[in-house]
Subunit: 354 residues, 2 copies
Amino acid sequence: MSRFLSTEAACLAPYTPGEQPTDAQYIKLNTNESPFSPSPRVVKALSRAEVLKLNLYSDPTCGVLTDAIAARYGLRRENVLAANGSDEVLAFAFRAFCGQGRGVAYADITYGFYKAQSALFGLEATVVPLREDFTLRVEDYLNFPGTVVIANPNAPTGIALPRTDIQRLVESNPDRVVIVDEAYVDFGAESCVPMILRYENLLVTQTMSKSRSLAGGRVGFALGSPELISALNRVKYSFNPYNVNRLSLIAGAAAMEDEDYFRDSIAAIEKNRAWTTRELEALGFTVLPSSANFILAKSDRMSGETLYRTLKENGILVRWWADQPRIRDYIRVTIGSAEQMAALVDEIARLLDM
Amino acid sequence: MSRFLSTEAACLAPYTPGEQPTDAQYIKLNTNESPFSPSPRVVKALSRAEVLKLNLYSDPTCGVLTDAIAARYGLRRENVLAANGSDEVLAFAFRAFCGQGRGVAYADITYGFYKAQSALFGLEATVVPLREDFTLRVEDYLNFPGTVVIANPNAPTGIALPRTDIQRLVESNPDRVVIVDEAYVDFGAESCVPMILRYENLLVTQTMSKSRSLAGGRVGFALGSPELISALNRVKYSFNPYNVNRLSLIAGAAAMEDEDYFRDSIAAIEKNRAWTTRELEALGFTVLPSSANFILAKSDRMSGETLYRTLKENGILVRWWADQPRIRDYIRVTIGSAEQMAALVDEIARLLDM
């Protein structure tokens, strides 16, 4: 370990993102991107005239973007914070609401970033096991005194929690913040956004990386009471006031305003998810019930590791976690286009036949 | 203070960025932006084809951008970290190199963000007064045991430090990191980049917001030994692995490759700075010697506050700090185009005549 590292930096647990190969052509089903280009409105909005203004700073309040988000969800600007991807939103939230004497709780199988960010801020983390079937038991969190973070639907399982469960959690202790990470909510789970105006202690985070085809634009946001949003802004203005660049502000607003394109994208993914699930089940796979744009699946004839490695050798990238015993038998497959899913199913059928 | 705030978040000292008005047309000389649009190469690089790929994540290693930066400075990719503006670079560096038992030292009059980020990470900050003439005495830092941060040229004074002074500081304790914030170095100060290959403990941070006309693109970077860059990456991958979006990666690389456009921009700013300095001195102003794209100036006939307020009423924005007694008499004026500077000088002459 470098002599220059602070004690705190030595204790970090950096996140390993999915492979982003630049050297070869893969069917890329490993990082839950949308297979569809962004809305034509985004293409139109990113005009030459806007590029020529890149010499000027972006609006630190992200006005254009937060207004578009607020309008879409029937909220006010004071209910919205925009950020450089929802990872940044989560980091701001972890710093704003957790610290000495106020730890954080999350599931054992969930988005890996909660662990990385807990280490970043030196938080005491309580890791709560999911049930055997990977569902979350909300009772496990009701008496936890610190901040609770729940991904809904969960990643990488895809399993959704009913909104009534989160409502119980939010109501059980109004002095505790509940963060609901809705990165994948648009693909079929019940969003908690309608509860925001009723509960001051509920923060919902979302991203435009999945359902709005803007992973490369880095646009995430938080929705919550003005009190919670104001706390997030304290952190943002201590870290990076101009956190969203000019073009992403414009792209995000345009994407949020194109409801038809959004709905069509979702419908296509849901259709392809149903088809892929059926096909894999026909090949003997167990597929967890998914409300996201991915599925977690295991074969009764081939290990997760072999599936991951053999698919990669044959030009298809999926995600597999070597370091997670509970899901080591599974692979996580992003739901792409119909053509991509057909290629995946054909390749898996071929591998199992060999 | 909100009951939801962590103790740490309650202790923050959020930064106040310069005004970014969206409601009126101002001659904007308050946030040190370039008056020139980005290079035509940037405009060309941000093609429709690239926008159509925004559904895919950006390369977390920022390969295209770090390679362009490394090539420009005769370094290797391992010497470069790219980030969402140099504020993010600085935050990563503060976390990587400072913490319990390892504080940070910086000048009393310098970039306000060092204070905000010290508070963000709960660091013990040693604030070292500049001399009466606002020059920095490097001897004050030689025996400081923690991390030293020096803006060179300094902001908001514009005063540059000779490279030999920083060399003394770097050599005086090879176990201590020295961060040289070169946000404005291209406008006339001596860069420490040529020293990077010799000193493992020297980190240089730069930005494309000023000399490369990309403030709205949010592209900053750090240059240093592979050991320091690796430490910054530990923090980055704990905070936000995909920290630079696709379009900014491309824009930054294109801007870095257009050396002619860069030199022409710098030459124009230096010429306008010299002209503005002469004109203000002729009007009785004291202007600090600047190596940056701004000047810090005070009038013998009008207070800094009156200048700031009256100029704003008349459509010209400059920066003034109410909360900084040592520079309360001064205004900071960004060096813009020849037309903008002529408008400023005319307006000031008119105000002083009234």
